[in-house]
């Protein structure tokens, strides 16, 4: 087979793979979860780094949460690493003035 033959074969394989990927993706999203597996909870640390909003478990790990699981990093609120000296937020001035 000469080069154009291989190029056509490569394009054909890519198109075939794209079709398989799309079809299997749509089928995967549409098949229902097997019975008895509705309330699964994956390990929060393992899934915490994944950011696919299409995954059914996504909202559990990326909604703003208050507490944190043991062994998992707490969701860090805005911090200012920059210089190691600065990084302290200005304290709220009005609260203490009101209550006397």
């Amino acid at each position: 087979m000469d080069q154009t033959g291989y190029v056509l074969l490569a394009i054909g394989i890519i198109v075939l793979l794209a079709v398989v990927a799309i079809v299997s993706y749509v089928l995967y999203q549409k098949t229902p979860v097997p019975k008895g597996c509705e309330n699964l909870e994956p390990d929060p640390g393992i899934c915490g780094a994944c950011l696919k909003s299409g995954c059914p478990f996504y909202p559990q790990y990326h909604a703003p949460k208050v507490g944190a699981d043991s062994g998992v990093d707490e969701p860090k609120k805005p911090s200012a690493p920059g210089d190691k000296v600065a990084g302290v937020a200005p304290s709220k001035p009005d609260d203490k003035g009101d209550a006397k």
Binding site: Y28, G36, P44, I46, G71, E74
Partner: protein, 199 residues
């Protein structure tokens, strides 16, 4: 002749599993490794799923690169092709698991979408065909097996360590990710001592 090649294969396997460990030396797949909590069972299920995906992806991607892309002169399309192969593989396997095996879905199925974008899978497949450092087929399969077994081993060890770590009181600043990273540092130091075997 077969014997020497077999020995070479086993040495390569050990090298890719322990000495050049995927997580602690080559740094693929760290994102989901750091947050592993103290549940050993879910860590092991993640590891087993990774073994499946890496081995089969390497099995499929290597021939496509060597027998189709290279003769066609289209090596630059390798990244796109690999992503398509990995995604289709994961989705087809996930489809079968969802339909026919609730037990497997309970343990592996939830991590399958995560493995599609895991650096380890794409990293191994790209390493096998990196221009200038290309491996032949048995070595690339040794890479695939070794990498995935190394991943499984290290994630299991790490989860076990974390179960003990939770019972100790770490300083407040180190709770969570920093102490996990320092634990991984100690594990990496332990593996440093093995370098030189079969190199």
């Amino acid at each position: 002749m077969f014997y020497t090649y077999f020995v070479a294969f086993m040495l390569a396997l050990v090298s890719y599993t322990l000495i050049d460990n995927v997580l602690l030396s080559r740094f693929y797949g760290i994102c989901s490794f750091i947050g592993v909590g103290n549940k050993v069972k879910s860590a092991v299920s993640m590891g087993v799923a990774v073994v499946f995906v890496i081995v089969f992806s390497a099995l499929i991607c290597y021939p496509i690169y060597h027998f189709v892309l290279m003769p066609a002169g289209l090596e630059f399309l390798d990244t796109v092709v690999y992503i398509l192969v990995i995604a289709s593989l994961v989705q087809i396997v996930g489809l079968f698991i969802k339909k026919y095996s609730p037990a497997l879905y309970k343990s592996l199925g939830i991590y399958l979408p995560l493995i599609t974008t895991n650096c380890a899978v794409l990293g191994v497949v790209q390493e096998n065909t990196f221009p200038g450092k290309m491996l032949d087929f048995p070595m690339s399969m040794a890479n695939a097996f070794g990498t995935s077994l190394g991943y499984l081993l290290m994630i299991f060890v790490f989860a076990c360590i974390r179960t003990r770590l939770d019972t100790y009181s770490t300083p407040r600043a180190f709770k969570g990710i920093p102490i996990a990273l320092l634990t991984a540092a100690v594990m990496a130091m332990a593996l440093m001592g093995l370098s030189g075997i079969g190199a």
